[in-house]
Amino acid sequence: MKNEGVHPESGGKESSKPVEDHRLRLVNRTMQLYRNESHALIETLHAVQESFGYLEEGVLKHVANTLKVPLSRVYAVATFYHSFTLKPPGEHTCVICLGTACYIGGSGAIIDAIHEEVGIASGETSPDGKVSLLVARCLGSCGLAPAGVFDGEVTGKLNSAHVLETIGRWRTHEY
């Protein structure tokens, strides 16, 4: 796994706290809020993902040491829950909802279209690092099916052409 942003030697040793990184502030604050108790693990991983965009190995070791949780359990929790990702995301993120209403409304075909056009499946990032595709289980925007989230913005009543156009703009910097 690539170690970006934190000290590459950070893992394993007693002094495993990565070098000062402003992105760690939110992570440390979250752990302090729960007095470094082990049950803060999931909340802390949310904070890591919010700050770093994904769960970075060095930071996971730091979290394991601070909360006094075995690294194996941190890894187990990080891989058990779908919200967490161990891979850095692309520059832009496209989430397509695959809830029942969206599926009935044709979101499966949109995902197929992205796969055909861009060559990425759910959880993958395009080779140019521009676009990540994620699948949501239900955004709760069933009234707008099929729905998706483009760089954090929920958009409803999607169709393949519109989605491919947005992704195309992202890849050619026209946004």
Binding site: S38, H39, A40, L41, I42, E43, L45, H46, V69, R73, A76, V77, F80, Y81, H82, S83, F84, L98, G99, T100, A101, Y103, I104, G105, G108, A136, R137, C138, L139, G140, S141, C142, G143, L144, A145, A147, E153, V154, T155, G156
Partner: protein
């Protein structure tokens, strides 16, 4: 804070509200926000100020108005007019028309069955109050139930009132709430917990999100009453991280409630203390199961454990724990305020009160509805839902999500309650209701749900871990034009095995979509296998093979 203070705040709020001749409510729940209602509200506010109408006209953001398909929705509270699909360019026309004839091109008729047939208890404040202001909740008798319980009822009397109401758990299984509360109250130990299950993972269901976004204080009040009744002093709201707006509004509501003294230490100047913390889910459907949810709050993988012991005796950190769904807690304040008998007067003999459904799929009026238990399915689909778009024919109604079943058209006249749904092989579930028309292939729908269960299975017990995979593979084979005649018997065997041997509700109920489609739409399976034909024309490889 005491009851006089509460009434004082309510009166002030009402007076202030009535001071405005026109009140424009803009829906700022997630559905309308994603069609731009946030910018619309800003534009309305700006235009009101620009025209100097600030003392005369009030623009406010409210929770879900229900008819999500017509968003962004705006309601003129004083005139009783609804506007639908409002754009920023409509702002000046709306303000011009205040006090006169409404803007006809925007009017959303409210004399329709969608609005008239609903009975609102849980959603009574949705679309009427600003969810980010506690004073507005108080003006609608908010926290009066809690005050009443603390000042005039013993914990035992509160539980009796809840039992009398006949309220059953709205999370899906329908366990009597009064019994659950009694079990926790009788459990030994000084430390007890109240947990609100807001991990609405069922794809196609957004009722709980809407309640939390539109009226979060109602849930807080319900939980606090439960704390008093069972002897707990700490609560948790376990909410999906995928609902950022609900999380934000719940957090805001909690801080307001603590500030006002209706949560925290010495609530309503009594010796009762109760605090609530928010815990975020992380996208695991199985965490809706109560023992998995407990594991997740404790910071572990959300894997269920065998029951008994039930959480009522042995729950969070091994202490007695009461776990109820958002909608269950949301029913508590009016039950305390108006009495269990009032509540028991609504609904059917065994299913009391109302149920909120998220109506979606191939239906004209998608959105959120609340109807009395026992309302015929036909009335929900054709009257309230407005029927199927483009003159297509209804094929099935899916309730209960991945744990529920597909109900065919011939059962449309059945009443929607716990028992009737179970009789046809489905469940009430949390309230997702997806309508499917003739273009939906039932084999593909069964495959869709099994794919969901396969990826959401926690992997702890073999029947679920392996069974979901095997069933999914067979269904994929059938939809990919490679089905064989033996497949159906194998499917039935596997479903039966999973139902009877899985550890938790996920595995036990995940065969339901397969079993109901096999039972009611067997001809579609047979047609895929024998005639290599998808009757709905949805399965790509069968289409291409033709």
């Amino acid at each position: 804070m005491n009851i006089e203070d509460l009434h004082q705040i309510a009166r002030m709020e009402q007076t202030q509200r009535e001071g405005f001749q026109h009140r424009i409510n803009v829906c700022v729940a997630a559905g309308c926000l994603s069609c731009g209602s946030g910018q619309l509200k800003e534009a309305l506010e700006k235009e009101v100020s620009r025209r100097g109408l600030d003392n005369w006209c009030k623009v406010k953001g409210v929770g879900c108005l229900g008819l999500c398909t017509a968003g962004p929705l705006v309601s003129l509270e004083t005139a009783g007019t609804y506007y639908q699909s409002v754009k920023i360019s409509d702002v000046s026309d709306i303000l011009e028309a205040l006090g006169g004839k409404p803007v006809s091109r925007l009017v959303c008729p409210v004399d329709t069955a969608f609005f008239q047939r609903q009975v609102r208890i849980v959603s009574e404040n949705c679309g009427r109050i600003d969810p980010e202001r506690i004073e507005e909740y108080m003006a609608e008798s908010g926290y009066e139930g809690l005050s009443l319980a603390l000042s005039q009822m013993s914990p035992q009397e509160v539980i009796e009132e809840v039992s009398r109401s006949g309220l059953r758990g709205r999370g899906g299984a329908g366990f009597p709430t009064g019994l659950k509360w009694t079990a926790v109250s009788k459990a030994a130990g000084p430390t007890k917990f109240i947990v609100c299950n807001a991990d609405e993972g069922d794809p196609g269901a957004f009722m709980d999100r809407s309640v939390l976004e539109s009226d979060p204080h109602r849930v807080i009040e319900g939980m606090t009453v439960a704390g008093y009744a069972t002897g707990a002093s700490q609560g948790f709201i376990y909410v999906r991280a995928e609902y950022p707006l609900a999380v934000k509004r719940v957090r805001l509501a909690l801080s307001q409630a603590e500030h006002m003294g209706v949560l925290g230490n010495n609530i309503f100047n009594t010796s009762f203390n109760f605090t609530i913390k928010v815990r975020l889910g992380a996208g695991a459907f199985v965490c809706g199961e109560e023992t998995a949810l407990i594991a997740s709050i404790e910071g572990r993988m959300g894997r269920p454990r065998p029951r008994p012991p039930f959480p009522a005796e042995f729950g969070l950190w091994e202490h007695p724990t009461l776990i109820n769904n958002v909608e269950t807690f949301a029913n508590i304040p009016p039950i305390i305020r108006k009495g269990g008998r009032w509540f028991a007067g609504i609904g059917t003999e065994k299913s009391k009160g109302t149920k909120v459904f998220a109506l979606a799929g191939k239906i004209i009026n998608t959105g959120l509805i609340e109807v009395p238990m026992g309302t015929p399915l036909r009335d929900i689909v054709y009257d309230i839902g407005g029927g199927i778009p483009q003159g297509k024919r209804l094929k099935a109604v899916q309730t209960g999500g991945p744990s529920g079943g597909c109900i065919p058209e011939r059962f449309l006249d059945m009443p929607v309650d716990y028992e009737s749904l179970a009789k046809v092989g489905s469940i009430m579930g949390s309230g997702g209701m997806i309508v499917m028309d003739e273009t939906s292939c039932m084999v593909d729908v069964a495959r869709f749900f099994m794919e969901f269960c396969k990826s959401e299975s926690c992997g702890k017990c073999a029947p679920c871990r392996v069974g979901t995979r095997q069933i999914y593979d067979i269904l994929s084979k059938i939809t990919a034009n490679q089905g064989s005649p033996e497949d159906l018997a194998m499917l039935e065997d596997l479903c039966d095995l999973m139902k009877s041997t899985s550890l938790c509700g996920l595995g036990q109920s995940s065969p339901n979509p397969v079993l109901t489609t096999l039972q009611y739409f067997r001809e579609e399976y047979l047609s895929h296998i024998h005639d290599k034909n998808c009757l709905a024309g949805a399965c790509k490889s069968l289409r291409e093979a033709k």
